[in-house]
């Protein structure tokens, strides 16, 4: 195939025409079909092309009309006449603009993650209708029971003792009687609160406990979560930060690790704060009942051991030793009556024994 120095495509059909150029006051393109096409030099723009070919379009011509010049001298001649030829091409300034605005967007997203989302979570959580929160709680409860086995401990004497303990704590906590609570038979030492006023205690924690005050402290802590609506706040907070951080990194290779890491850092700090607040709440409730909060710290310490060393900024809880130290500072001799009698405490410890056999 012969190399035509100049080829013209009129943008209306794919016909390839060899053309002759005349550099008059406008660029005249004679493609051999009568009247020449005339392009104003100022309207001519560069289009993408392989190296060795100059390809241009014209603002006033059909958008896809193209003139291709494969002769370096002709190309240079045309380029020298078209001052705006590179106007559509991104310059260094263009890139700087992109970088600048991206950094601004990143800063504002980070700002919203650190200041806006926690504020939104605090303000929005109380606005969530209780019925919706209860629905969420039902869903979570089903899933918990599916994961840990639907084994609610139901020894009558134990249940009575458990109800007494929860009620004793509920009143100074300022929560209404709609709070639901249960002990689940699983060896994992844990307790948690679910949205909509549900508190679950795992038998594994009871097994590690040495006196009622230890369990009372933990339950008071969970009631603190209910009181502060930490579940709802956490949900809004985690949803918001996940979304915003996902927005930031988009699809850079390996960004999922980056997103995961930054999300862990940010949500852990929020969760630590909520845990510390629930601890304050528990300390306050225990002191109002005339009991010491220290046993709770001791129970936690017994369960986790010394935690120090790992990256504490990654943890969702304050370090157990710090929590124990804090509760020890608030230690005071018991002024109030014991929360459970020794018999009731024994019954509570055995709440899962006969229950699980029924």
């Amino acid at each position: 195939m012969a190399i035509d120095p100049v080829i013209y495509f009129d943008g209306m059909s794919s016909r390839r025409r060899a053309a002759a150029l005349v550099f008059a006051d406008m660029l005249e393109i004679d493609a051999g079909d009568g009247a020449a096409t005339r392009w104003a030099y100022a309207d001519i723009r560069r289009a993408d092309s392989p190296s060795g070919t100059l390809r241009v379009s014209c603002l006033t011509a059909p958008p896809l009309a193209r003139l291709e010049i494969r002769d370096a001298a002709v190309a240079a001649e045309l380029t020298s006449r078209c001052l705006g030829i590179d106007e559509n091409y991104p310059s260094r300034r263009g890139v700087a603009t992109i970088v600048g605005w991206s950094v601004a967007a990143a800063v504002s997203i980070i700002g919203v993650v650190f200041f806006g989302v926690p504020l939104a979570a605090d303000r929005l959580a109380p606005l969530v209708p209780e019925s919706f929160e209860r629905r969420l709680g039902d869903v979570a409860e089903r899933q918990v029971k599916l994961l840990f086995g639907d084994k609610v401990c139901s020894n009558p004497a134990g249940q009575q003792a458990f109800a007494k303990l929860v009620n004793a704590l509920r009143e100074p906590a300022g929560l209404d009687p709609s709070v639901q609570s249960a002990v689940l038979s699983t060896p994992i030492p844990n307790a948690f609160a679910l949205p909509g006023g549900k508190v679950f205690l795992f038998d594994g924690l009871l097994a590690k406990a040495q006196n009622p005050d230890e369990i009372a402290g933990v339950l008071a802590h969970e009631l603190g979560h209910l009181k502060h609506r930490d579940n709802m706040r956490g949900l809004i907070y985690n949803g918001g930060t996940s979304f915003l951080i996902g927005l930031l990194f988009g699809d850079i290779t390996g960004s999922s690790a980056l997103i995961f890491a930054s999300r862990t850092l940010v949500t852990a700090s929020h969760s630590r704060e909520a845990e510390a607040n629930a601890d304050s709440f528990a300390i306050n409730v225990m002191q109002r009942l005339g009991r010491s909060p220290k046993p709770m710290g001791e129970l936690l310490f017994r369960v986790t051991g010394k935690e120090g060393g790992g990256l504490s900024i990654l943890s969702g809880h304050p370090l157990t030793e710090d929590r124990l130290a804090r509760m020890s500072r608030e230690d005071q001799p018991a002024k109030g009556p014991p929360l459970l009698t020794p018999e009731e405490w024994q019954a509570l410890k055995l709440i899962c024994v006969t229950g699980s056999k029924v």
């Binding site: 195939m1 080829i7 495509f9 009129d10 943008g11 209306m12 059909s13 794919s14 016909r15 390839r16 289009a47 993408d48 092309s49 392989p50 190296s51 060795g52 070919t53 390809r55 059909p62 896809l64 009309a65 193209r66 291709e68 991104p90 890139v95 992109i98 970088v99 605005w101 991206s102 950094v103 967007a105 990143a106 919706f132 629905r135 969420l136 039902d138 869903v139 089903r142 899933q143 599916l146 949803g239 979304f243 927005l247 930031l248 990194f249 988009g250 699809d251 850079i252 290779t253 390996g254 960004s255 690790a257 980056l258 890491a261 120090g308 060393g309 790992g310 990256l311 504490s312």
Partner: protein, 373 residues
């Protein structure tokens, strides 16, 4: 009568050529990856556009180069529109999920299927965007058809593939390609797809029982995958028609082995370098803080954490450059080199038709993290 004219000659098949400079492409993606990190990912729209412009404008068919006329700003706008659509959908997904879970635990799982349908829609619309930005000889490609009709087909075929334990996948692919190609046009030249599911199946069925072994026996997996991709490319290219223009690929089944192994090799090399770098830095910190320092001091060392993050970012940057260089450019070049065009004279005088499509599909595909061709 004197017959002087020769027998009507069939023009020989035309190879497609690629004229791009590899170093230039490397500079483009390396710079782009760096800018992507600096801009926490927002530069991706510009990088993707630059990569496409480079690949398109250096692809010559019958001596004339293609052109990609899409611009990054369109992708950015598409992304923003997709956000406006996806955010309420995510919220609705959450609320419906709560209701479904109340009826039965984990009942909200099927809702994920809705995202699959949506993802297929996005793939179709993203293809339409790319095609309407593809210009050759001053005439653009374009697409009609419906993204939802495509999504429905893709989903039903997907279900069928699940039921048949994956054996129906080649037929699924053939059916979907037929839909896409029948609705693809070059000017007034309508596309079609002549690949048959059976032809594809014949070549790849034996991979199916081998896959479980490949998962255990690591070095086998890249071979199988590269083989599969090569067969898929050849089958796909050879099925493409635009009016009387026929494409034919002679890509060998082993043609892509080295590309995938190069990516794996470079990734291992980069990861090892990253590991050594962190180890040396940790050693240095340990030496500075003296023998009394516990391992815990190292774990909580802030400078080490910062250096790890920076090293990780550099690693990610390296990965993205390597994968673009080998799996975007080199693969493209190799596939092009294997491609012949028959009957190009049918495209000699095609009238321009078709309108530009928006980048919404690209935006949704970006938001849902799906990709397709």
């Amino acid at each position: 009568m004197n017959v002087t004219t020769s027998v009507p000659s069939h023009p020989p098949p035309l190879p497609v050529s690629f004229t791009g400079n590899r170093n230039e492409f490397f500079r483009l993606v390396a710079r782009g990856a760096g800018l992507e990190l600096v801009t926490v990912g927002f530069y991706r729209f510009w990088l993707v556009t630059d990569v496409r412009r480079h690949l398109w404008s250096n692809t010559l068919i019958d001596g004339d180069a293609a052109e990609y006329t899409g611009r990054a700003k369109e992708l950015l706008i598409g992304f923003l529109i997709a956000l406006a659509i996806l955010v309420p959908i995510y919220l609705a997904y959450f609320l419906i999920g709560v209701e479904a879970e109340r009826l039965k635990s984990f009942a909200s799982f099927p809702l994920i299927a809705a995202f699959y349908v949506f993802g297929q829609f996005a793939i179709y619309r993203a293809r339409r965007y790319r095609l309407t930005r593809t210009v050759w000889r001053g005439v653009r490609f374009w697409m009609d058809g419906s993204g939802w009709a495509y999504a429905a087909r893709a989903t039903l075929w997907g279900l069928f593939a699940i039921v048949t334990l994956g054996t129906a996948l080649p037929w699924r692919q053939a059916a979907l390609e037929r839909y896409k190609m029948q609705h693809s046009w070059y000017g007034d030249l309508q596309g079609s797809f002549e690949g048959r599911g059976w032809e594809f199946f014949k070549r790849v069925w034996w991979l199916w029982p081998l896959t479980p072994i490949a998962i255990i026996l690591f070095p086998l997996a890249p071979f199988l995958y590269a083989y599969y991709k090569a067969v898929e490319w050849r089958w796909w290219i050879s099925g493409i028609r635009f009016g009387g223009v026929r494409l034919q690929s002679t890509l060998r089944s082993d043609a892509l082995f080295d590309l995938y192994w190069k990516v794996i090799g470079w990734s291992m090399l980069l990861s090892t370098a990253f590991g050594i770098f962190i180890a040396v830095f940790a050693g240095a910190i340990h030496a500075i803080s003296g023998p009394s320092a516990t391992p815990n001091a190292l774990a909580t060392s802030i400078p080490l954490a910062i250096v790890t993050v920076i090293g990780y970012l550099a690693l990610a940057l390296g990965f993205s450059v390597v994968s673009r260089l080998y799996l975007s450019r080199d693969l493209w070049v190799r596939v092009l080199a294997s491609t012949d065009v028959h009957g190009i004279e049918a495209a000699a005088n095609v009238s321009a038709r078709g309108d530009l499509a928006s980048a919404l599909g690209e935006g949704i595909a970006d938001g849902l993290d799906v990709a397709g061709f």
